[in-house]
Amino acid sequence: MADCVRLRYVIDGENFTSAGEASVKVKRSLRQMGFSPEVIRKVSVAMYEGEINMVIHARGGVATVDVYEDRIVIVLEDEGPGIPDIPLAMQAGYSTAPDNIRSLGFGAGMGLPNMKKYTDDMKIESVVGKGTTITMTVNV
């Protein structure tokens, strides 16, 4: 399984109108590569939630998607404020999103739970004041 296609995107933390763009591009690439709708859906949900979180909570970041024959690995890295209490952040309904963000339809506190639910493995590494790296794997 040495063969891997790497997709890489810089996620702009300022630009709300293009938020989700990288996820849409990944979805299109996976479709062209012939992955099943289920796999594409899992990756789309997980990547979108992670991408939006980087825009809303961490002033942007970098997304790397490694596509192997038997799995897809998504790594989201940011240099935002970090997550002080990861189990709390993982709870359905927990959100620190401000009102202006909530008015756009975000802030249900369901993003991280969705990422967990739609991937086969998820690891969060976070240091307060330094940033967060989330690694998610979807098995094909």
Partner: protein, 108 residues
């Protein structure tokens, strides 16, 4: 049923209709995007009052067959352009989310 047939029966106006022949299967309603992302199924009709650009991204990624905007709300201009480009069908109706879902339930 196709999205166009459904929209005509609902009396909903086409805001943009890049894929009129797309088949409809089931329906989901909600305005909180992470709920929609996690729960809407492919080919669902999505009934919502959210009208910003993020609606279009969620519709694309959740792979819904169309978005029906309730309460006569208007999709903002940037969102309408993006929807057209991304192949997302969007309709608008003066009915409430409840009335739309009830009508859709009778039709599909």
């Amino acid at each position: 049923m196709t999205v166009r047939e459904l929209a005509q029966k609902l009396g909903a106006r086409a805001v943009c209709e890049p894929e009129p022949d797309r088949q409809v299967c089931g329906c989901y309603t909600g305005d909180l995007l992470s709920w929609v992302m996690g729960r809407a199924q492919a080919d669902n009709v999505w009934v919502t009052i959210m009208t910003n650009i993020n609606t279009v991204a969620v519709a694309t990624l959740a792979d819904v067959s169309c978005v029906v905007i309730a309460e006569g709300a208007e999709l903002d201009e940037a969102a309408a352009k993006t929807a057209e480009a991304k192949g997302v069908n969007v309709y608008s109706s003066p009915l409430s989310s409840y009335s739309l879902c009830a009508a859709i339930s009778d039709l599909i």
